[in-house]
Symmetry: D2
Subunit: 294 residues, 4 copies
């Protein structure tokens, strides 16, 4: 990435000397910082994208997208592996996405040694941290509009499950949810991983927390009030035809459709890969832009 920037700089400085180029005006930026969590009793890092106009229009407030990484990922993964800044810069330049703040908190790391996951688990109340500490801190620290019509959530794999479950249980907070290759529930082949009762086995604890928050069951068991609440969110589910999580995503979509809750569904070419999630950004970012009230 640095090499690329050097390359552009070299070419431009040498061969574009007198050309006016908006690329050399204010740029979007990506910042990594951290917050101390009293809930988790540790610092938690986050990485945040601030749009091009952020430093110039000092009174302007922006919509926000919470972007959730997958298992073993960390706060920087969406930026280094999926290059959300590059896609975002291009889509805002052409108007296909609107300027927004994008923030990715750290909910993971090596699953053998680190806590992973977006839900409350015995000894690790991540969801409490997210809603009681992280979201308030971000929306106070950065210029965020701060209402549900300007807040969305998206994520991949474990973060796609987090996305869906968060929007299901907090529909008053989000206007839109885009789930990629989502862990809607643990696949049948992985159910055994949850059976170890050892509370220090972090993968077992995570597996159970995903099962307890099954996004599919949440729809299948919905009464009319819950269905009505779910209809206030705009849903988009996107999963590759070679993804080992596809069947769970199909189950989720069928449950939504049968419950009369509008939900876009796409199966594109690909597996459970970084390239799939990168390309998904070209649909995700315009989608949430359309959902934000303007």
């Amino acid at each position: 990435m640095k090499r690329l920037i050097l390359s552009l700089f070299a070419v431009c400085s040498l061969w574009m000397a007198n050309a006016q180029n908006p690329a050399w005006g204010p740029q979007s930026k990506v910042v990594t910082d951290s917050i101390y969590s009293t809930v988790l009793k540790t610092h938690r890092a986050y990485t945040i994208y601030l749009p091009q106009s952020y430093d110039k229009e000092v009174d302007r407030k922006y919509p926000i997208l919470y972007l959730l990484h997958g298992m073993s990922g960390v706060n920087t993964s969406w930026f280094t592996d999926q290059r959300v800044k590059d896609v975002m810069d291009q889509l805002t330049a052409s108007g296909e996405a609107c300027e927004m703040i994008i923030v990715s908190p750290n909910a993971g790391g090596n699953p053998a040694t680190c806590w992973n996951g977006y839900f409350n688990m015995p000894g690790w109340a991540y969801e409490d941290f997210f809603y009681k500490e992280f979201m308030p801190y971000i929306e106070k620290t950065y210029r965020v509009v701060g209402d549900r019509q300007h807040r969305a959530v998206a994520g991949l794999s474990m973060g796609g499950g987090g996305t869906t479950s968060y929007a299901q249980r907090y529909p008053d907070l989000y206007c839109a949810a885009y789930a990629m290759s989502a862990l809607m529930n643990i696949p049948v082949s992985g159910e055994a991983a949850g059976k170890d009762p050892d509370p220090t086995n972090k993968v077992a604890v995570l597996t159970r927390s995903v099962q307890e928050h099954s996004c599919i069951k949440y729809v299948l068991e919905a009464d009319e009030a819950r269905k009505a609440a779910l209809r206030t969110v705009q849903w988009f589910v996107d999963c590759g035809d070679d993804d080992f999580l596809l069947d769970r995503n199909i189950e989720f979509f069928q449950a939504m459709r049968n419950a009369g809750i509008p939900c876009q569904f796409r199966v594109r070419d690909g597996g459970h890969t970084g390239e799939y999630w990168h390309s998904a950004l070209y649909m995700c970012l315009p989608f949430v832009s359309r959902c934000f009230e303007r």
Copy 2:
């Protein structure tokens, strides 16, 4: 990237224990190696992509794509910055691209201190190296079919100019050329950079070598024999609407069309950016696959 692979491994080993997954069979691989050049009197590195079946089908020969990086780039740039392996693996899995070998030689580095460019320059006969040493070495060392109907060239920026000029002057070697954001000639705004006669100013030397190999002039000055030769190659030119090199690409396309040489031309959304070249691979790799004789 390593993090991603770890992540996939973790998820799969935990939750897919008994699932059969072709992803764990033979994989494509990327190798970096080097060759000593007697022409250049130095070692030159290259990075090569070997397709999934390469190690299994030990008698099979493959078509080859020479993939040329831009100014300041090096042999690894297409792999780290544009992720050609990820795109290639997906497109071969779905059949949109055929299995091929892809090789990227080092023709650059920091332009202040390193030689850059694909042409012969005073003191740096890169083109001689490429045709007399590099191509023969690669096609002897790896299982390459080795005829023009199974050889193509593609590249970005300075490498897009190299692509076009190579296919123009060696049409007997390539069946197809795909140029991205190509330096078809130095833009007007950069012409001054070539005026320094100091032979140690590598940027000035490079600038003059590009001007001497203007891809536009080569078409404008073509007689009927040259036009006939150019028509034996399949051409594709792709440049962003915000690219500072767009006008040179337009001039090239118009010259080709007016000379009656079929040439695909696309102007997509974007500038002179890594993301543009990454997305171009989704058109480039199927295009060269179609051009290879099967």
Copy 3:
């Protein structure tokens, strides 16, 4: 088309007897009607698309898109040849376009016998009709918001030139303009057609009217005040790489860029064909939807 609808009806009535299907609720509709023009001293037909909610939400007002056909086309052409209703229904269902009214006036027919074109010509003041009679009538008769932030113009070929010239000279009326394969000026090969002074030669009269309203010249000659006005419109220019009008579109885009007026530019695969314009709707309708103030 009728056959298709019958087919769907047959399948659905037989095999979906008890399934709830929103497709059988209120539908968008296409109506052809006419208005008497005192300017032109004749009736002029138009065809209008009313979105799905139009009849149900009886107090709601909608943004409007004026969609201009090409030479020899008539008011129904966008609906029969480019199937704007089918594309619009799909894009509104998925949220990629917002509900809007789309209207296509008749400005053509067989050029040997009918008046063609969007400009005032000796004996045929079409532009007067459009702005003094047609637009006021439509926006009074249908529930149109009626301000510039909810009004756009788009068109193909001769209608792409009309689109551009209208938005150039009435920037207070339109927030967005999308020109396809636009007749930005008569191509060099057609200039002779304008030289017949016979005032009954409708093609000669049309040719001269297009030359007088050259969209390229309008930008090249713009002073700062005009440039500022042009910057208030959002522009999109889209032309095929095999189109005989491509060079004029390139000239227009370069003039805009050089004048510092933001303009999206795309060159996609194709010629001056109905299929190109059909596929352009997938970009045009989301583009104008984004431009409308919501």
Copy 4:
């Protein structure tokens, strides 16, 4: 369509007088003809696309695509409703599809009065007609290569079911099958339609014939020999997220994947509509082109 052609002709003759335009050289053509069937004891119409070079290269043989319409459709439907000629001409011009013959037989009409369907039914042995009369006649009458590596089948809705079942039961005849919105089996909501034993109720007879040829059951019940045969065909299944047949297509894909038979699967935006099938041609025609041996 005629209006479009007139329009292009007018523009080109007036404004392109001296320009050389390959569009005025040999064109592809669409012909409707018929064959007398002794099996069915009636004439059956078909519509056939002959590629651009067909009349010029009089010794050349072409690959062939059998393109099957849906219920209530007839032999012309793919040409009038889905405009296969327009898409094909564009894709062959850019090289994304290879030149091929495309033929669409009449297997339908108004289901209340006409026989419909691709299978043998009591009193209507359509499949016998197709394989014993139609295919031999077409491949003798037109210059078709005539082996499985140059023969493919595709279709929509009822014709998507026909496509799949034909390629399942005649894998020695086809190298590729592309099924759109396919009637893989009668959906649950339509099962009642098959219960009327009246042999003159053509819809009931059709419904039972589809159930008897369930594409899903055919895979679920496959032994190893059948699975091996199915793996010799390249499969592509494409169905909209709003299509009432989606669940049957999901069942089919899951059965294929679980049986270890490679199958591409896509769920795109849309319902059971003509526009969906039109857009599917942009994937279908390149897909079959790649599958043909070249």
